[in-house]
């Protein structure tokens, strides 16, 4: 790859860094009591929780660092942090 002039970059490149590998605990989105309020997506520091066609939220595990903020904030207590075996 040719280097850019002056160390610049176009958007999109950070996706090359799969931060999902940092995860120890994984948020399991149970979709039992979920009210589709979207708070989990709003508070995710990664911005990796994505609304599906059925309006349920699913994290992109390629980037989810497993911080647990979504589980802590979920008003329906419908997200569970589980130890991940990789």
């Amino acid at each position: 790859m040719a280097l850019s002039v002056g160390c610049t970059a176009k958007p999109g490149k950070s996706r090359g860094n799969r931060t999902g590998a940092w995860r120890v605990f994984k948020p399991a989105f149970k979709h039992n009591k979920c009210t589709k309020c979207g708070l989990c997506a709003m508070v995710c520091p990664e911005g990796c929780i994505i609304e599906q066609e059925d309006e349920f939220m699913i994290p992109d595990y390629d980037y989810c660092k497993g911080c647990g903020l979504c589980a802590e904030e979920c008003p329906a207590e419908d997200i569970e942090m589980v130890k991940e075996e990789k």
Binding site: L3, V5, G6, C7, T8, A9, K10, P11
Partner: protein, 384 residues
């Protein structure tokens, strides 16, 4: 048109004709007349630019950085402490490959506090990645601005440039300067056309940080651009000669080098005094010549070597000192002549406004003939 004009005003008028979009500077002696004059032009609508009156030189250059990144042509001017305060931003502009031009009215650096001329300020930034031009007179000082923008903004170069002229000695001197017309400058200097800029339509991240696996390559790229800029300077100088008649196609300039046994090497206004001194010495049968270095960065090593190859000895006049070592030009010349057997003697002269007269040049030539060099010239007796 020939005008009888103060050096600072010749520079500010040249800058005006370069059509900067953003001017940002902070007052400091002896540069101040330049930016006062530009502010007046903006106030009178003879210069269509945004003039940012910053709270420090550090912000002046930072604002210029932002302006260039956003795709505008930027200009600043400073001296001495002001340039020292810009140190960090200087490296940053070059590293980010953001071209602009800044005038340095060369002045000594504190302490002790001195408002007078030497070249320590800009020399201290020789490693920053900026092109550095040194003017002998106000004609060169003005002309080098058109040339500097042209080279700096070239797509293969994209580096900032300093046009250095000796504070007070040139900046406050009235002399005749041939000023071109706006049309002539427009025909020589194209509009700034950045290859990338801050633009919501095509987002780019500028100024990222580099891990060890990339940092060296980016520094290498800057060095490559500077190395290649020699050819671009020659080209731009040649075109300058075609358009304006004055020849800047070489990075150095020889004066009476034919059969010269002692060759003086100098930068800036000292070259003028040296030329007069050489004429007198030649009149007395002494074989003396001068090599003037106009472009210090990139350093014109090959030209210097070629110009000095016939000399019996070389006497370098340095208006700066790398404390604990030698003068910055002297070191470069020694490097270039390494292995040639030609002795290079370095003289630290004119620091903090110490006046250099013809007789001082003649005395230095005498010292060089005796092989006495690598010294501060003309120290007070109580020190010596």
């Amino acid at each position: 048109m020939m005008r009888f004009i103060e050096g600072s005003l010749a520079v500010s008028d040249a800058v005006r004709m370069c059509r900067p979009d953003v001017v940002s500077a902070y007052p400091i002696t002896p540069q101040t007349h330049i930016v006062e004059s530009l502010a007046e032009m903006v106030a009178n609508c003879t210069l269509d630019a945004e003039y940012i009156t910053v709270e420090s030189e550090f912000s002046a250059l930072s604002a210029c950085l932002g302006a260039v990144a956003a795709g505008s042509r930027a200009y600043s001017a400073t001296s001495s402490q002001g340039l020292a305060l810009m140190f960090e931003v200087c490296f940053n502009l070059a590293g980010m490959r953001l071209p602009m031009v800044m005038t340095i009215a060369n002045r000594a650096i504190s302490a002790p506090l001195s408002i007078w001329n030497d070249q320590q300020d800009s020399i201290s930034l020789r490693d920053s990645g900026w092109l550095q031009f040194y003017a002998e007179d106000n004609q060169e000082a003005a002309d080098l601005h058109y040339l500097a923008y042209k080279v700096a903004e070239d797509q293969k170069i994209l580096l900032p440039a300093m046009v250095c002229f000796d504070g007070f000695i040139l900046s406050h001197t009235y002399e005749p300067v041939d000023m071109p017309t706006q049309e002539e400058v427009d025909a020589y200097l194209p509009k700034f056309n950045p290859c990338q800029r801050l633009d919501a339509k095509d987002p780019i991240s500028f100024g990222m940080f580099a891990f060890p696996e990339y940092y060296m390559e980016f520094r290498y790229a800057i060095d490559q651009a500077l190395q290649q800029s020699r050819e671009k300077i020659r080209e731009a100088g040649k075109e300058f000669k075609e358009k304006f008649g004055r020849d800047y196609s070489a990075l150095v300039e020889g004066y009476r080098l034919e059969d010269a046994e002692t060759v003086l090497v100098a930068m800036g206004s000292l070259c003028g005094t040296a030329k007069d001194a050489i004429d007198e010495m030649r009149g007395a049968g002494r074989k003396v010549g001068l090599l003037k270095i106009r472009t210090y960065r990139p350093f014109p090593g090959e030209e210097v070597a070629a110009a000095l190859k016939g000399a019996k000895r070389v006497a370098v006049l340095d208006k700066n000192i790398s404390l604990g070592s030698k003068g910055a030009v002297g070191l470069e010349v020694k490097d270039v002549l390494y292995g040639s057997g030609i002795p290079v003697l370095d003289y630290i002269v004119g620091l903090g406004g110490r006046d250099m007269r013809k007789r001082d040049i003649e005395r230095i030539v005498t010292l060089a003939e005796k092989g006495e060099g690598d010294l501060f010239y003309g120290l007070r007796e109580e020190v010596a």
